[in-house]
């Protein structure tokens, strides 16, 4: 028995008819949000991180129906190569991207961190990213990327106030 649900994805309301057991991860990927990556399906690697109402969550740990009526943000909602988000730019500039498979999920965790704490210290960055595994980089440049992005976003906001 299929079930209907509505999700606001990256600002647009969409309707779906799905099997009740469908994971949010699979719904999003099938619907074309392929920046949401499937790395373990057990809530451990963080590659499928998206925001639900602004909070980061592993989309493999949720049935899609549990998100009914909520607002979802995926990596595609942050920016694109022509208009990237400052976090996306900072990751590239610092060399924080190697294979890139963990990166969309990680950037979503960074976005959630910087939304609630625009000036995180090293410890807070490490804590916020501890759910996003990366096997390529050793995390050194990813932490540098977060600091760079945070600074740029703060500076930009500062400009607006002036």
């Amino acid at each position: 028995m299929k079930k209907n649900l509505k999700l606001q994805i990256n600002g647009t309301w969409k309707e779906f008819s799905i099997e009740p057991g469908t994971l949010l991860l699979d719904l999003l990927r099938t619907a074309g949000y392929q920046g949401v990556k499937d790395g373990c399906r057990e809530g451990e690697c963080g590659a499928c991180t998206v925001h639900i109402d602004g909070r980061p969550i592993n989309s493999c740990t949720l049935f899609a129906l549990q998100a009914d009526g909520r607002s979802i943000t995926t990596i595609e909602g942050l920016g694109n190569p022509d208009h990237p988000h400052p976090i996306q730019e900072a990751f590239v500039e610092t060399g924080a991207v190697q294979c890139g498979f963990c990166i969309p999920g990680k950037i979503m965790s960074v976005k959630a961190l910087l939304d609630r704490n625009p000036d995180p210290d090293e410890h807070q960055i490490r804590e916020a990213l501890s759910g996003n595994l990366c096997r390529c980089t050793g995390y050194v440049k990813q932490i540098e990327a977060v600091k760079l992005a945070a600074r740029r976003i703060r500076e930009k906001k500062g400009d607006h106030h002036e």
Partner: protein, 773 residues
Amino acid sequence: MSKTRLVGKSVPKIDGITLSCGMPKFVEDMPLKNPLCARILPSPYAHAVIEDIDTSDAEKLPGVLAVLTHKNVPRIVHTTAGQGYPEPSPYDTFILDRKVRFVGDRVAVVAAETPEIADEALSLIRVRYRELPSVLDPWKAMDPGAPVIHDEPEAYHPISAKYDPQRNLAAEVKAVAGDLAAGEKEADFLVEGTYHAHYAQHCPIETHICAGELDHNNRLVLYTSTQVPFHARRITAQALGIPLKRIRVIKPRIGGGFGAKQEVLLEDLTALLVLTTRRPVVLKLSRQEEFLSSRTRHQMFTTMKIGAKKDGSLTLMDMKVLSNTGAYGSHALTVMSNAGSKVLPLYRCSNIGFHGKTVYTNLPVGGAYRGYGATQSYFAQECLIDEMAEKLGMDPVDFRLQNHIRTGETSPIFKALGEGREGNEMYIQSCGIIECINLGAQEIGWREKRMSVREGRFRRGVGMCSLMQGSSIPDIDMGSVYIKINDDGSFNMNLGATDLGTGSDTIFAQMAAEILGVESEDIIVYSSDTDMTPFDVGAYASSTTYLSGQAVIKSAEAVRAQIFSVACEIWGVTSTEGMELREHCVNLSGKDPILLSKIACHSLYAHNQHQIAGNESHITKVSPPPFSAHFAEVEVDTLTGAVRVLKYVAAIDCGTAINPRLAEGQTEGAVANGISYAMWEQYVFNDKGRMLNPSFNHYHIMRTCDMPEIKTILVPTYEPTGPFGAKSVSEISINGGLPVLANAIYHAAGIRLKEGPFTPDRVLAALKKKGNG
């Protein structure tokens, strides 16, 4: 070296922004039309014969399109090791067999409309197994009367190598230089020990995945997460017994490999399912399957004896290796050989011995894993070097500085030990190990910290180790590159070299742009596709930068020569002498520069029309080692046994760093993996050979909250045989974790750990033993 414009500059990775924006670039993102989902039935037994397999119920299930077992697939013996041809690995594998040889071995595969139907179909397959006695201890694998794991008559070694499957011997190699008995006699001091490098998995965040479809010409197209697209094509054709020309292998972006994807694991099944169903098929391993059924680091026991005189000179280095390849002999010979060939030459010594055996067991299968045997045996060598330094009353730093191989020197092991055959003689032409040691020691605060007081509950200590690796396999590896000009003065560069996230596409663009007088974004890089790109062995053996880089240079130079010829035509001159490419122009003193776009359009549309293009290949006679020194500071909690890594320093000589940021990234990633392996990662087996912890929940890999401070120091040297002076950088730094942390723990707490990971229980047991001893 002349000044370079782009080489040596940290150009952003050319695929970085699209990856950061989550654009569809990986195998699972390929737009296949209505693909089937494939699932594999794993063996629950370590060793069993399949007496009967009944798939009738599974086949009847609506939505199931194919069920394959050993009964209905070709039976052609091959190896899954993605190496040069003929592979230096035993042919001991069938697509599906009547026998299973480890828990997780594949029994059957189904393709169905949905994952749920595929899973249900697996549950409907009825298998009657006859369990066989199994071999779970590599030390007992060759005992008389031990169960024979590869009793099939087809198994053989495709190269002339010692192979005796009746005794579970997958490979054996002996090499001696000098006189071992004399070396032992000459020694004033001897140290000896056995060090155990344990099972581990590569853990790419993207698991193995292959997708396939038939194209408009009825050819088989495989999109696969591979480090070796050309080997994947060849081995798939071989395993299925179909013409190679019917297969096209495309490597999109790869979500990490680390050696796990130097293996042709899923391509055969995917290809068969596509041919059987004539539908697109996706076969992806779950995280659990990745642990149980893909490939691992070869478990290895390295026993080593080192002799030295009172003056600190080495008289003997004798290494014996027992390697466990698990149920199949993938990379069995070469990983074991590398344990000697990439490790023993690090120090000057006239009497060097190596004797390695690789045995079959009914445990998960070993394979290529970054470091490739060197990781395993450096544990023994670098801990024993520390033990010897202690016996001599020397500082480990000074002892190493005295004995290291230097520029202009050679080691008899280079010639004595190759990859499945004799090696190549080689004299070191670039070596920054001394600078690495000195800078690393300074960064960690070596001299002060070695003298520090270590007492109380929390004890801090520092340790070090030295390392080398190689840069590609001499006389075997080949890389080839095609470059052509476009109307606007940009260039396509198509190459088989396989960027698996390392950034090789970017550094090759830098190299080509350097020569062609353009920016790296003017080079459109495409890798790798067996229909569209020239051959390359693929991404392994630390070969990509060093080997394929030279092919990039040669191709770019060939293109430059053709550009100059067209410039001659336009300028009406006969000699190209003095011509230069810079700022998108051909320049010659006294003439107005000609834009490359004008050269391109002239050659494509105006006069004597032709395509300016170059396609060159490169092989090497030598495998120049990068060198590195690693230092670590740890804190041991003597009450709980917990070890904290406080700081880790890796100083590395990779020749010229083509892109310093990416070279640092390679080093940091390898260091992190090495620390993670030494501290947390392990396979826990039950007494039936089943791994009990196949998930990230129970198999801990380093997270941001576990990280020590990691400091990378690039020590530039210039390797004359490398592209712009470059050597390899990718593998070497994974080798440090085990020995450097073991040495630091010894310094902190006086306990010598010879088996990883260095978990609290092991540390406590060692402390207890020491206290009682």
